[in-house]
Amino acid sequence: MLKMTRIKLLIFVSALLCVPFVNANMTDALRWGAFVSQGMAYSSDNHLYGDSDDGMSTELDEFGAWGSYAFNPSISFTGQVSMRDLGALENGSASVDYAFGSYLFLQNMDQVAGVRIGRIRSAFGLYNEIRDAPHTRSSIIMPQSIYNDRLRKTLFSSDGIEVYGSWQIDFNQLSYQFFYGESHIDNDEIDEISTVDIGGGLSDVDLATVGGDPEGDETFIARVIYEIDAGTWRFGLTYSRPKYHYEDKTGVAVIGGVSFPLKDGSIRRRAIISSIEYNHLDWSVSAEYIRDTRRTDGIFVGFDSGNSHGEGYYLQVIHRPNERLDIITRYDVSHQDRTDRSSPLNNTRDFTIGAGYRPKHNWLIRSELHLVQGMSWLSTVDNVGVNSHEHWNAFLLQVSYHW
């Protein structure tokens, strides 16, 4: 049975009904779009987006609508609301993905520069901004070494101010974004990002059961992308430094079944990503490499600070034999801790093959097969009390529609 709440269904249907009217009224100043998808996941072992272990989980659906209004060529407002069900990671409640006002203070033949304020999608790697809608991303599951779904909320957007722009140099383009503000985080994500090395490692830390109050703190993100020959080659460099603090209330974490007292504390993450993409006719090849450091101060009584140095990379090849079909092959590697490259709790290797088919322009059917070794990016909250397996496979199928 499709797991769609009544409210979701209502919005979905009313959106469908609105389509002819809104499309007719869409002007150059007002732009909008929407997407809806339903997916299913089967896994040989472990849970991926719901109870998928040897069964079919349908807790993989999303609905989103975005709109943009330009008051004049320099001032505009853009926003998106969405509802997602991603196993236990997201429960289908509505949230504002981003909502910002932007002002272009420089526009000429070679340069554009502006500033935006509000909830802004984070410039993180090459694809973070297009990861949320099925028709814009390359696969159902993004490469988890960089675009970890366990940290989706905190990676996706942050509240603050960003200076952005682009500069044309002949047929090449340099674009840049510098963000300063505050990130978001919730109990599940604090759980995923906190590092404390006690026996079972961080995957066994379960803060979600306690009523603490995690909050985003000072965050800085910078990204530069250089494109050659109108996007034939794209090179990117990202620096991201979010900070979070945890205000303790009830003071207990369950680690490997044992309760540990908690206290106030903070977590800092510093990540650097280098990215490359090559496009030629019906081929696209991309690779990204991330190195990150996470430092936990306080939080766990008796473990004053913990450092974790992670690393990850992927290589992805997309071939489009015709305009309706794309075939994707990817090898994605994540090391949560560079000093431990063997334990399945800290490492994952994921070989993916998949295909996307567009029977009509607005419809997309995607399926993919993941051959996985390791559990480091598996959602902890989906796998509480589950007998984990190092070697597992997953099959996913998703149907989506966009306006």
């Binding site: 943009s68 910002f100 949320d132 322009h361």
Partner: protein, 160 residues
């Protein structure tokens, strides 16, 4: 006995050869049929601009303009880019021959721009008649059509 076996072997080889030749012929024929049926084959895609545009365009400029990276003409007028729907044959022809990319790759570039908030997608028109109308009436407009009719509101760009 040996001769019989040899004849049998040869005839099997012959049958195999014939059936292989048959499959190859069928495959080549089907490819030729697909190619001849392909509606985009006979269609032209010529670039048109509003008469107000005086820039000398090179074919390389097109990919830059249609991927929405250049926003202004050299006189400061905003570039208004008009495109036909992705499934339109003239659009497919234009993308493949003039830009050298597939329609949905171009769309991916627009998505990236729109979803990052760094820019906007071109304006979609529903028919070539609407394309002509919009390019004729919008200063700084650029688009494409399959057949050009002499007029004084828009002009064709000759890349030769």
């Amino acid at each position: 006995m040996r001769e019989e076996a040899e004849i049998k072997r040869l005839s099997i080889a012959n049958v195999t050869l014939i059936s292989l030749r048959g499959i190859l012929t069928l495959f080549v024929a089907s490819v030729l049929i697909f190619l001849s049926l392909s509606p985009t084959h006979a269609i032209a895609a010529d670039v048109i601009v509003n008469n107000s545009v005086s820039d000398q365009l090179r074919e390389k400029d097109l990919r830059f303009i249609f991927s929405m990276k250049r926003r202004q003409w050299s006189d400061g007028t905003a570039i208004s880019v008009f495109v036909l729907p992705a499934a339109n044959d003239i659009h497919k022809k234009f993308c493949k021959e003039k830009l050298g990319i597939y329609p949905h790759q171009l769309e991916a570039v627009w998505y990236r721009l729109v979803y990052s908030g760094m820019g906007k997608a071109p304006i979609k028109v529903l028919s070539k008649e609407q394309m002509v109308e919009m390019v004729s009436t919008t200063p700084g407009a650029i688009g494409y059509i399959d057949t050009y009719v002499e007029n004084d509101t828009y002009k064709i760009i000759d890349f030769r």
